[in-house]
Each structure stands twice: as structure tokens, then as C-alpha cells.
């Protein structure tokens, strides 16, 4: 029984999965507010190998002693365990368009902390995003570039009435004499968030509730600028090469096994 046959195949499959993650990062290298996914690999849970047999002791009437000893543990494969988004700040670039807002973190109290805009998805659920590429819809509400309502600090859509509004550094939107504080949320552990499509994040099932970012952090909102993606194309390309070669090595191993099997099938018990 060739144990490594399936191990090599699992290595190929895991690297395929990693390539999917990398190419999605590369696709989003210019998506505002995109956070790169980091794929992590993990060995299959290990199993314990035991040798079971018997030993003959050469006495007059022959004695068999059963043997049962541990050989050691073995991992029989690898899989991609998780995709961990990297929540570091992307580069901020000036666009000069008043509806573009960028979040600038500043020092955060927690290592894995992150600040988000509050938006509402199509089912009316609260979601979080870093993509500040907003626009004003036909009814005068501030929306994301997918048409989701951007929410204020009380969880209501933001009515701008028209076009020209100002956003101060503390995230207060001023339009026609009304000051509306935009909803900004902070999480101490951003890894508990689940990526949805369109740059939205939702809190996982057992995630801690997000808190108001104004009281916990000194985040700044910059109007007329966008936070770019934090994907580094050079790093992604390097990882892609690495993934490709790892895939190739697993393929070589699989081929070697196949050749051994070929020998077993064709050459053993050949009548010459």
C-alpha cells in the first residue's frame, strides 16, 4: 500500500486552492479598501502507526511472542486551513472627488484592531467596509459604489440632499447646516469578521460586537481621497511562483509513485 500517493495529491489540491486565493488578491490589486487574504496551510491531523506482529523464540517447542509497538506518528496530507485577511492600512491616494472618503487608522489600541464604515446591505443588515468610494443616489442618500446605504452613527441612511457636503477629519458630514456623524465601528479582533462580496465584512457567529470607533480610536476620515488595496503585486507574484513550484514538486512525487506502481503491474510475475 503506497501511503504517500494520496498525500502528494492532497499537496496538489492545497496548492491549487492557494493559487485561487493569490489570483483573487491579484484581481483586487486596484480595488479600493480591499484587504489581501493570506492562505495558511495545515497538515492533516496526524495518525499513529503501530507495528503488530509476533516474534519466534527458538525453544524446543517453539514460542511465539506477540509484538505491539509504536512506530510513530504520520501526517497523511495537507490542506488549506484558512484565509486570513490582512487588515493593514492600504495606501491613500488623492482623487479630488468629494464623495470619496478614506479611513486613516492612526495608532490602534489592539494589534488586530480595525476601523470600518457602517453600511447596510440589500437585506437591511449591518455590514462593515473599508471601501470609501461612495456616491450619491437619485434620492440624495450617500451610498457605496454598489448602491448600499452608508449609515450614520445612529444607524440611519445619510441624506445629503444634493452633492456638496464636507466631511471633517472626525467623520462628521456637514450638509446645508446639518452635521451628521458617519457611523464608524471598531473591532478589537478583525479576524472574527467574515468577508462578504463587494468589499463588505460581517461579524462571525461568535464575534464580539463592534464598538463606536470615535470613542476608542483616533481614526481620521479624509475627504477627496481613497484607500487603495493593500495587495502587494510583487509579493503576490513571488508567492504564486512558490505555489507553482510546490505544486510541481507534488506532481513529481505523484509521478514517481505512478512509476513504481507501473513496475509492479507490468514487471512482477512476467513470464520470460
Amino acid at each position: 500500500m503506497l501511503r504517500g500517493f494520496y498525500t502528494a495529491a492532497s499537496g496538489m489540491m492545497a496548492n491549487q486552492r492557494r493559487q485561487e486565493t493569490l489570483s483573487n488578491n491579484m484581481s483586487n490589486a486596484y480595488t479600493p479598501g480591499y484587504k489581501a487574504d493570506q492562505g495558511t496551510m495545515r497538515a492533516f491531523p496526524e495518525m499513529l502507526l503501530k507495528e503488530i506482529g509476533s516474534k519466534q523464540i527458538p525453544t524446543a517447542n517453539g514460542l511465539n511472542l506477540p509484538i505491539n509497538k509504536t512506530v510513530g506518528s504520520l501526517n497523511t496530507g495537507v490542506y488549506m486551513q484558512e484565509t486570513v485577511p490582512d487588515f493593514s492600512q492600504g495606501d491613500v491616494r488623492e482623487t479630488g472627488i468629494g464623495t470619496d472618503l478614506a479611513l486613516i487608522n492612526g495608532p490602534l489600541p489592539d494589534e488586530n484592531g480595525a476601523v470600518f464604515f457602517n453600511v447596510q446591505n440589500e437585506n437591511g443588515e449591518l455590514r462593515y467596509t473599508r471601501n470609501g468610494n461612495f456616491t450619491v443616489d437619485g434620492e440624495g442618500f450617500l451610498t457605496t459604489n454598489q448602491g448600499y446605504y452608508v449609515l450614520d452613527a445612529n444607524g440611519n441612511p445619510v441624506q445629503t440632499g444634493g452633492m456638496d457636503f464636507n466631511v471633517a477629519e472626525d467623520g462628521t458630514l456637514t450638509v446645508a447646516g446639518r452635521a451628521i456623524p458617519l457611523g464608524l465601528s471598531y473591532t478589537a479582533n478583525a479576524n472574527q469578521l467574515i468577508k462578504n462580496g463587494s468589499g463588505l465584512f460581517e461579524p462571525g457567529e461568535d464575534a464580539d460586537a463592534l464598538v463606536n470607533a470615535r470613542t476608542t480610536t483616533n481614526v481620521k476620515v479624509q475627504q477627496g481621497a481613497l484607500e487603495g488595496s493593500n495587495v502587494d503585486p510583487a509579493k503576490t507574484m513571488t508567492e504564486m511562483m512558490n505555489t507553482y513550484r510546490s505544486f510541481e514538486m507534488n506532481q513529481r512525487v505523484l509521478k514517481a509513485y505512478d512509476q513504481s506502481l507501473e513496475k509492479a503491474v507490468t514487471e512482477i510475475a512476467r513470464v520470460r
Binding site: E20, S23, Y30, V84, G96, N145, G162, D206
Partner: protein
């Protein structure tokens, strides 16, 4: 087909649209009254995969169960940049430029009202010896009363005043014979480009709340001047380079995935 190839090819299609948009902006660097457009991306759907049944064996996880794989990126929306273009003196009496952002001239196009920033107007002969004010394509310019601006043909001179009034000189007399109808776009992003410098309202959308007529006192027009396009060539070129590189990166993703498939294909030689 391989998921990573789909992601990259979808994104390449969308990048092509961005390249088209940049190409159109660059093509219109000298178009009177042209407003540039910008496009930004948004990520597409994310698939949740439950890649392991035994969740207890998953030790040391950072994130919620399963893995999430994205499906590429798409062009989210195109943003009309309504900032003012540079002004250029022409010395021609019927060239006018709007001095405030979001103001628009009105044109009558096939019975519909359309809007434009381009103020290069002309006189065209109409019926029974009259003249009417039209734009370069011959569409009639609408006055403040919503009607085309028409004059008797025997004039000696014509000028347009700062408040949009059209002054006609006959002999030694100068009289106001019409006023340009200017509207202000409250929500300019609702306007659709119709080509030939014109904007229109989307089908079935009333103008109320999107456009507002501008009073004579608030009208600010500069005559003998045209507003140039507001395309910033250096910014467009930078965007072009970035989009081109992004296109190449995605193409590289495809070729890497293709080589991986090639390796699978060589398993049995």
C-alpha cells in the same frame, strides 16, 4: 474550469472597460465642456467553503470556520467629475462659458430637453426669415421660458450678457430679445451622457429634484469664452499605466494556472 482562471479573466474583462474609459477621456482632452469620468473597482462575490467536517480537530484557528475564496473584481461605478475645466478666450460673441459648477445649458433634441456644458452657439436660419440660436449640431437652445430663442433676421449685432440675456443690436438700439435658460444640477450623477457633449435624464425620471432652474440674478456666464475639457492628462496617463499593469498581472495569473493544469495533464505520460 479552474477557479483562479475565472477570477483573472473576469477581472481582465473589467479592466478592459476601465482602459476604454481612460481612452475616451484622453480622446476628449480638447472637447469643449467635456467632463471626465473616473471608475473604481469593487470586489465580487465571496464563496464560503466548508473545507473540513471535523471542526474540533481545527486547532489554533484565527478566523471563523471554513475558508472564503473571492471571485475577482468588477468595475463598480463610473463617477462623473464635474470640476471646472479651464477657460479659453475666443473673442467670438456667441461663445459662452458657465462660471459655476453644475450649471447646464438646455437644448431641445427631438422634442426632449437635454443638457450641455458646451456653450459654442450659432445662429441658424429658421422659417419666415427668422434666426434661431442653436448649438454646433443644430439643436435649438432653450430660453428661460422653455421656448427656443428666435429673432427677426435683420440684426446688426448680437451679444450675450453675464446674466444670460441675449442682446440684439438693430440700427442704434440694443434690446433684450431672450434669455438663456440655465439649470443647475442638484444631483448631477443622475445625468446620463448622450454623446456629442449632451447629457440627458434617465428614461422616465422627472427633472424635479435633480435639476433646478437658475434665477437671472444667480446666473454667471462669461461670453467670448469657452470652457475646455477638465481631463487631467497626467492623471489619466498614470491611471492608464496602472490599469495596463493590472491587466498584465491578471494575465500572468492565468498563465500560471494554465501551467498548473499542464502539470496535471502530464501526470500520465
Amino acid at each position: 474550469m479552474n477557479r483562479s482562471m475565472i477570477q483573472a479573466s473576469v477581472t481582465m474583462g473589467q479592466l478592459q472597460n476601465k482602459l476604454d474609459l481612460i481612452g475616451n477621456n484622453l480622446a476628449n482632452t480638447n472637447t469643449t465642456g467635456y467632463k471626465s469620468r473616473q471608475a473604481n473597482f469593487a470586489s465580487l462575490l465571496v464563496q464560503q467553503m466548508d473545507n473540513l467536517d471535523d471542526e474540533k480537530a481545527e486547532t489554533g484557528r484565527l478566523t471563523p470556520d471554513g475558508i472564503r475564496v473571492g471571485t475577482g473584481a468588477k468595475l463598480a461605478h463610473t463617477n462623473l467629475d464635474l470640476s471646472h475645466g479651464s477657460l479659453k478666450q475666443t473673442g467670438r460673441e456667441l461663445d459662452v462659458a458657465l462660471m459655476r459648477d453644475n450649471d447646464l445649458f438646455q437644448l431641445e433634441v427631438d422634442g426632449q430637453t437635454q443638457y450641455t456644458r458646451a456653450g459654442n452657439f450659432y445662429l441658424n436660419p429658421a422659417e419666415n426669415g427668422q434666426m434661431e440660436l442653436t448649438n454646433a449640431d443644430g439643436f435649438r437652445v432653450l430660453g428661460a421660458d422653455g421656448e427656443p430663442i428666435v429673432f427677426d433676421g435683420d440684426m446688426d449685432g448680437i451679444t450675450i450678457r453675464e446674466d444670460g440675456a441675449v442682446l440684439v443690436t438693430r440700427g442704434r438700439q440694443q434690446t433684450v430679445e431672450g434669455r438663456l435658460g440655465i439649470v443647475q444640477a442638484i444631483r448631477p450623477r443622475m445625468l446620463e451622457a448622450d454623446g456629442a457633449n449632451r447629457f440627458r435624464l434617465p428614461e422616465g425620471t422627472p427633472a424635479a429634484g435633480i435639476l433646478e432652474a437658475v434665477n437671472q440674478n444667480d446666473t454667471q456666464i462669461k461670453s467670448r469664452t469657452l470652457e475646455d475639457s477638465n481631463v487631467d492628462i497626467s492623471q489619466q496617463m498614470t491611471d492608464l499605466l496602472m490599469a495596463q499593469r493590472a491587466y498584465q498581472f491578471n494575465a500572468r495569473s492565468i498563465s500560471t494556472s494554465d501551467q498548473m493544469m499542464g502539470l496535471v495533464n502530464q501526470l500520465r505520460t
